[in-house]
């Protein structure tokens, strides 16, 4: 049997060290590929190392554990089984008990050895069942969908976008926007004939949009439903959207693929 490999993402050094030591004691065969200290590194390292087990602290700088898991679910390669995720948190504000029997496990800090031993047993059991593992990604995606809360809608709906282009401010009716695309610190507002940047984040923008008119289809893309021509699945199973009024296709991440199931 291959070595089981793990990755730990925990921003507090002493806690990371403690978790590592306890794990080594409880599960000597486990090969821990490293400890990362923030959410961004958690995503890049997990994608690079492709561990079997991923310990994710929920409250981390850069990205929360939940965001990191969601991003991993979107970017994980098709041919590699998704890691078993164990969320680690000091205070269970997300009601993670729901996970205990399901795809991901969770442990509370301070981690007691007995509780961690239980998790280790569960992980071993699940790693032995290959069929279970293949379903892992789908399940985690489904759970994240329910867990990452929909941002509460703000009372005022955005109707007009004011975007600075050079020395003028362009007024763009929201209904004319075909899609919004997140870039580094900006959001690109794309209409049939123009693209303009506004200085905001998709996270802040989303609650101001009508959820029936604009759908998030990827962590970086929000699309106007009226401008979707069709959803196309390619040979590898990846979903993308053909648009009215734009030539480029938008890719749909696994997390949002359920929106395009046929009726």
């Amino acid at each position: 049997m291959n070595m089981i490999r793990a990755l730990i993402a925990e921003d507090e050094p002493i806690l990371a060290h403690t978790l590592l030591q306890t794990l080594q004691r409880l599960w000597p065969d486990l090969q821990v590929g490293g400890v990362v200290e923030n959410g961004i590194a958690a995503v890049t390292e997990a994608l690079a190392q492709r561990p079997d087990v991923l310990f994710l602290d929920i409250k981390m700088p850069g990205k929360t554990g939940l965001e990191a898991a969601q991003e991993l679910a979107e970017d994980w390669p098709e041919d590699v089984p998704f890691p078993l995720v164990v969320f680690v948190t000091a205070y269970d504000e997300y009601a993670l008990q729901a996970f205990e029997q399901a795809a991901a496990d969770y442990v509370l800090k301070p981690v007691t050895e007995a509780r961690l031993a239980k998790t280790v047993e569960r992980l071993k059991g699940r790693l032995a069942q290959h069929t279970e593992r293949n379903a892992e990604l789908e399940r985690i995606v489904g759970q994240l969908r329910s867990l990452v809360p929909h941002v509460p809608a703000t009372s005022e709906r955005l109707t007009l976008i004011r975007a600075a282009v050079g020395n003028q401010v362009r007024m763009i009716p929201v209904s004319e926007v075909i899609y919004f695309e997140a870039t580094d610190k900006y959001v690109n507002v794309v209409t049939a004939e123009s693209e303009s940047l506004i200085r905001t984040s998709l996270k802040e923008l989303l609650p101001q949009l009508d959820p029936n008119a604009f759908w998030q289809v990827h962590r970086g893309t929000v699309v106007n439903v009226n401008c979707i021509h069709s959803a196309i699945r390619d040979e590898s199973g990846k979903l993308s959207l053909k648009l009215r009024g734009r030539d480029e296709h938008l890719s749909v991440s696994r997390v949002f693929a359920h929106l395009f199931k046929q009726m």
């Binding site: 050094p13 002493i14 806690l15 060290h17 409250k59 700088p61 850069g62 000091a90 800090k109």
Partner: protein, 357 residues
């Protein structure tokens, strides 16, 4: 006011009436004894008892029954109640006498003669007795009413006290965040195994932080030195947790150490700097807390190199701590205090408050 009647109305009134009638019988007996042996009216004890029973029971039936039918167990309006009594008493006297006479087989003529004999005495005696009974019932009602009111008052006071306690508890919970507490404990747990000396030191800091936080919420004034030692304990704990990602300096001139200040003014600002500025920042950074004297004013500054005002995640109530500080400053000093929150250069936030000395 009696807020809620505990029983179903009809049953409760009937029960009440039965009790009142029973008490009336005791009075009737006493009156019969008085008339026979003290006033020495004519007729034997038995005759007087029958008269007394008839008149008394009827009087109670009219007055008490009328009251219960008209107003239930609520306090009756005084004037209407007096009218009820004025009509009920003579009626009870008249009908009661007839009834008693009929029961004892005394002929009508004898009764008239009896009435003629000591009419005034009987009338006055009857009135006095009735008044006494009414007074008894009335004051019993009144006592009960007062007792109910006192109980309602007590319940109200208890609920106010509960609210105050709840508010205090919420304040404590806001200060000692579960995240902070459990993460600190987890670090302690880890340190005990690898570095007991540091664990000991961390435990001391936790104790100091908890003690200061818990007592500060109850006291109205503290010294600047105490406030800074609380900050030192808090930042010390965070330093153990965040490791190299956090550095901090505290600048308190000796001359200002014993100055008296309201507790927990700086604490929320420092916690904001950590929570919204440095903890979510991958590289971490520096917090500086400084106290300075400016003429007759005290200037307190919390300065961080964290994410800054724009970058902080907007979701989790960044403004709450700041609003709280602003409100408290206004309540304590009115317009004589100032508070500002400005961007630090190149990154981070400077929170500054100025209060009169």
């Amino acid at each position: 006011m009696i807020t809620a009647l505990p029983y179903v109305h009809g049953y409760s009134r009937l029960r009440r009436f039965a009790i009142d009638i029973a008490i009336t019988q005791v009075f009737n007996l006493i009156i019969a004894v008085l008339i026979t042996y003290v006033v020495r009216g004519h007729g034997g004890f038995f005759v007087n008892l029958v008269f007394s029973m008839c008149i008394g029971t009827l009087a109670t039936t009219f007055i008490d029954g009328g009251r219960l039918i008209l107003w239930g167990e609520q306090k009756p309006p005084k004037l209407k109640f007096i009218v009820l009594i004025i009509f009920s008493l003579p009626a009870a006297q008249f009908i009661g006498k007839l009834l008693a006479a009929a029961m004892l087989g005394i002929p009508r003529e004898a009764l008239s003669a009896m009435r003629a004999g000591n009419a005034t005495a009987m009338l006055i005696g009857g009135a006095v007795c009735s008044m006494f009974i009414i007074w008894f019932f009335w004051s019993r009602e009144h006592i009960e009413f007062l007792r109910a009111e006192a109980e309602a008052e007590k319940a109200r006071a208890a609920s106010i006290e509960k609210q105050a306690l709840q508010a205090q508890l919420q304040m404590l919970q806001a200060q000692i965040e579960p995240h902070m507490l459990f993460n600190t404990l987890a670090n302690l747990q880890g340190l005990i195994a690898v570095d007991p000396t540091r664990a000991q030191h961390m435990l001391d800091q936790l104790i100091q932080y908890l003690r200061a936080t818990l007592s500060a919420s109850r006291s109205e004034k503290t010294t600047l030195a105490q406030e800074f030692s609380l900050l030192d304990a808090y930042l010390g704990l965070m330093k153990v947790r965040m490791g190299a990602r956090l550095s901090y300096t505290l600048e308190l001139p000796d001359a200002l150490r014993s100055l008296s200040v309201p507790p927990m003014l700086l604490q929320p600002l420092v916690e904001n700097a950590i929570k919204h500025g440095l903890e979510p920042k991958v590289e971490g950074g520096l917090v500086t807390v400084r106290a300075e004297r400016e003429d007759d004013r005290l200037k307190l500054t919390v300065c961080d190199t964290g994410l800054g005002l724009d970058e902080a995640p907007p979701s989790d109530g960044t403004g709450l701590g700041v609003d709280n500080v602003r409100e408290r400053l206004h309540a304590l000093y009115g317009n004589r205090a100032e508070f500002s929150l400005i961007p630090n250069t190149p990154v981070g936030v400077i929170a500054q408050l100025t209060i009169p000395l």
